[in-house]
């Protein structure tokens, strides 16, 4: 199946995807409109368009430009690289030498970077979908590939998140870049990208077992250790350690504390989509009374699925599909889950959908999408009553909603695994 919707006559829609320019121009325009609208809203409304996290990044960048640590900014929990990337935002000046519009552009430079990352990620999706030397895919014609890439490129949710200044978009480009580089057999580049990605946001470490498993020529466990695998492991690990060493050298224990240890010691008690949320609130309030410390075992199903079982069962058949399923499992089984995390797997969706049962079977696809949206809507309604109306909806409302949403996600994950696991292996 190459075209999901063969049109009877050349329509405006098909000619839109025939050439790359219309799609990428619209994607860029969409982000530009959002960006300018955001600047207008920020300047004219007490309710801000810009994400609070963006102010955290830009504050951290300002500290860096003053020769201080980015961790001088409270709640900065990222690698210093992010603050360095956003250094131009600290060049905003209030003196008359700087034009007002120049200041606006400088302030928005981070958002522009995130939006550009979105576009590059979209282009890489097109490349991966059309690439011919891939072991896992039947290459798609460029127009069809662009149609699927547009799920990412023209997605208003993606465009909103990056233009509000959330850095999750950078993960999109890192993931697609990593996948493209692996599929085009660039071993050193792939290893460096993986090391950097893990340094940047930890979770991409789940891709390591999938890539290593995919790399090998056979499925025999006795031939597990091969030279390319060793090389890949060595380079990626060295990149990761070298970057961490450098950051530790610059910013000391603050870097380790805020970037990594914070995620170990934090108490994720505030309401979020995670199924563990209510239980975590309960056990954090009564640490001495918790008989079943299920939250300390929570990493087990999460890591078993995303790092071991899913890659073993699916990576050799479809690396992109495996990475999607792994990310989906990682987010679904995580101890904390907010809607920004959905972006982590959304970027891989265009690579999986072309041959998915969700597209072949429209009812199944719409049911999955409907349930996924409905699960969130249920939770958001309970969350609204708690957060804004002050109703105690922790139990049963939020708890049940998060478990229902978890159930929906598990079902979708099962379907994805069913799809990619039954794909025929393309032998070289």
């Amino acid at each position: 199946m190459t075209k999901p919707n063969p049109p009877s006559a050349p329509s405006l829609l098909t000619s839109f995807f025939d050439r790359p320019l219309p799609l990428y121009l619209s994607a860029a325009l969409l982000r530009l409109i959002f960006l300018i609208y955001g600047l207008w809203q920020d300047a004219n409304s007490p309710v801000k368009y810009t994400d609070i996290d963006y102010l955290v990044f830009t504050d951290a960048a300002r500290f860096v430009s003053q020769g201080q640590s980015p961790y001088a900014r409270e709640t900065y929990r990222y690698t210093p690289v992010l603050a360095w990337l956003l250094l131009p935002t600290s060049w905003c000046q209030t003196n008359q030498h700087h034009h007002h519009y120049l200041n606006l552009i400088l302030f928005s430079s981070g958002k522009i970077l995130f939006a550009l990352a979105d576009l590059i990620a979209g282009y890489l999706l097109e490349l991966i979908l059309t690439t011919t030397n891939s072991k896992s895919h039947h290459p798609l014609p460029p127009s069809t590939a662009r149609k699927f890439a547009s799920i990412w490129l023209l997605n208003p949710m993606v465009a909103t998140i990056s233009t509000r200044g959330s850095s999750e978009g950078l993960l999109g480009v890192l993931t697609t870049f990593l996948l493209w580089s692996v599929l085009s057999n660039r071993l050193t580049l792939s290893a460096i990208l993986l090391g950097f990605s893990v340094h940047f946001k930890i979770y991409p470490f789940i891709y390591a077992p999938a890539i290593i498993w995919w790399m090998g020529p056979t499925t025999q466990l006795s031939k597990l250790i091969t030279l390319p695998r060793l090389k890949f492991a060595f380079i990626s690990l060295s990149t990761f350690l070298l970057l961490n060493y450098a950051m530790f050298y610059f910013y000391g224990i603050d870097f380790i504390q805020h970037t990594y240890l914070h995620h170990v010691t934090r108490v994720d008690h505030r309401h979020n989509f995670s199924p563990y949320n209510t239980q975590l609130y309960l056990s954090s309030a009564f640490p001495e009374l918790s008989e079943y410390k299920i939250e300390s075992l929570a990493f087990l199903p999460q890591l078993l699925l995303s790092c071991l079982l899913i890659p073993l069962a699916t990576a050799k058949k479809d690396l992109a599909g495996s990475m999607l399923a792994q990310t989906f499992a990682f987010v679904t089984f995580n101890k904390v889950c907010t809607s920004q995390y959905f972006l982590w797997y959304m970027v891989l969706l265009p690579l999986y959908l072309p041959n998915s049962s969700f597209l072949k079977n429209k009812t199944l696809g719409l049911t999955a999408l409907g349930l996924w949206v409905l699960g969130q809507a249920m939770w958001l309604q309970q969350g609204y009553e708690l957060e804004f109306l002050g109703k105690s909806t922790f139990l049963p409302g939020l708890w049940v909603a998060s478990l229902v949403f978890f159930g929906v996600n598990c079902w979708i994950l099962g379907e994805i695994i069913g799809d990619i696991g039954t794909r025929k292996m393309k032998h070289l």
Partner: protein, 487 residues
């Protein structure tokens, strides 16, 4: 030990000296409508030993308790603070800041409501770089009653048979403020309590070896009074020494004045997890002078907190009728639940815009997660803020300490030495208390029986379902391929 008892009436009210009866160590006079202030100065070596050892290790300690019950006061006792227990403290050395003794003693004296561990862990630090008169640390708790303090002092300061002593201390239950101050220079502990403006019985007696001075005074406005001064006149008597009261009249510069207007504070409904405190000033009258700005000073327990990043956007502040964020204590954790927060809370000083009349300002605040309860709700008590106009007095004006002056109020150290505070009187919206209550939704323990089991079962089922799918794609390949062929 020295004692000073002062009754202060309003301008124009006075008592006829002939009506004051003095009999050696006893003074009696007809009832007056007045504020009563009692001040007791105790030398360090007259205190119980545990207090002696505690205080000798301190550089400075000021406790200021303000009753939650709204009270009326008169000039010059005008300085106001948010109701509750305020503590300002400078340790003798930094090692003392990590000691648990101060907190243990405070809990012993003021009751278990005062919960802290060590100054360095539970207290917030005050900016000491700008004006040297600030203490190093601040602590606050919305303590509503002095009864534990009364019990402690009755058992430690009064002998068992001394009925007048215990009665006197019991009267603190109706007091509107209590100040306890100690510093190494004076080497003595000064306790000052006031009772609200109401009918007061004038009756006092002195004890051997205690100097007791009684003043029956009124606010006064002599013709020579300068604009930055307050005047007072009336009768002073030193018991056991004077046979008749001596008439007195004096003026002094004062940093605390009456703005002659009032305000009320209430939370906007619904409060949710981000309550907004609305301040209403029906007729904000600007004091004389050009350089006056309206301010709100808030002391918030750690269950409710302001976000300094939210309060730094000019457009946002403008929409709330706030001119600027003048001071916010640090650090304030923006995420932690109340039960894992060690600092007592936070201090906030906002400059309000006062262009309109009536004037309202809205202060956006945020609730922390509180421990679960069996009703699904908890209550957070938020004291009224102190609202005042801060005006800069003319160049060269000096404010030497006057007999009724209060320093170390928390906010005074955030302003220059020539600042005069014109206080706006707080009035409850309903009832008598200057405290706003917020109902906070918490996890309902009555419904929490199956949370652990339910979560575990659902997660396990989800996990097993995914594993089942994985197993079936690995081992059920042929079957699926067959199915495909038949399709």
């Amino acid at each position: 030990m020295r004692e000073r008892i002062t009754f202060i009436q309003k301008l124009g009210d006075s008592i006829d000296p002939a009506e004051v009866k003095i009999d050696r160590n006893v003074i009696k006079a007809p009832q007056v409508q007045a504020v009563r202030e009692d001040r007791l100065t105790i030398a360090l070596d007259e205190l119980p030993s545990e207090l002696q050892s505690l205080l000798s290790g301190l550089h400075e300690l000021h406790i200021r308790w303000v009753s939650p019950v709204a009270y009326e006061t008169v000039s010059p006792l005008l300085a106001r603070l948010p109701p509750g227990f305020h503590l300002f403290f400078t340790p003798g050395n930094e090692i003392k800041a990590t000691s648990t003794i101060l907190c243990q003693t405070l809990t012993k004296i003021f009751g278990p409501q005062i919960s802290c561990t060590t100054p360095s862990e539970s207290f917030t630090t005050l900016p000491t770089d700008r004006f040297s008169h600030s203490t190093a640390y601040q602590f606050f708790h919305p303590l509503s009653t002095l009864s534990p303090f009364i019990h402690y002092t009755q058992s430690h300061l009064c002998s068992l048979s001394n009925k007048p002593c215990t009665t006197r201390l019991s009267s603190l239950l109706t007091s509107s403020t209590l100040d306890i101050s100690y510093d190494t220079i004076s080497h003595s502990l000064r306790l000052t309590s006031t009772w609200p403006y109401q009918r007061q019985q004038i009756s006092a007696s002195s004890h051997p070896n205690h100097r007791t001075e009684v003043g029956i005074l009124s606010s006064d406005k002599p013709k020579t009074l300068e604009s930055h001064e307050l005047g007072i006149s009336g009768l002073l008597t030193v018991l056991d020494q004077d046979t008749k009261p001596s008439v007195t009249m004096f003026t002094f510069p004062s940093r605390h004045r009456d703005a002659e207007s009032f305000f009320s504070a209430t939370f906007l409904n619904p409060t949710g997890l981000h309550p907004t405190l609305q301040l209403s000033l029906p007729s904000p009258s600007k004091p004389p002078g050009n350089t006056c700005n309206l301010h709100a000073y808030l002391t918030l327990p750690n269950t409710i907190f302001p976000d300094k990043y939210q309060l730094s956007d000019p457009l946002f502040l403008q929409s709330k009728n706030i001119s600027s964020l003048r001071y916010i204590s640090t650090p304030i954790d923006l995420e932690a639940p109340a039960y894992l927060t060690k600092k007592w809370g936070s201090t906030l000083l906002l400059q309000l815009s006062s262009s309109s009349s009536p004037s309202t300002a809205e202060i956006p605040l945020h609730l922390r997660y509180l421990p679960p309860s069996y009703t699904g709700y908890s209550t957070v008590q938020t004291p009224y803020p102190a609202i005042f106009w801060a005006c800069t007095a003319e160049e060269g004006t000096k404010f030497p300490t006057n007999p009724f002056e209060k320093v170390n109020l928390g906010y005074d150290g955030l302003f220059g030495p020539r600042t005069v505070f014109w206080h706006v009187e707080p009035r409850p919206v309903s009832g008598k208390e200057l405290v706003n209550k917020v109902r906070v939704p918490v996890l309902d323990l009555a419904k929490a029986d199956y949370v652990n089991l339910g979560t575990a079962l659902v997660v396990l089922s989800g996990f097993l379902w995914v594993v089942f799918k994985l197993v079936s794609v690995v081992f059920g390949k042929k079957k699926v391929e067959k199915e495909k062929k038949t399709q």
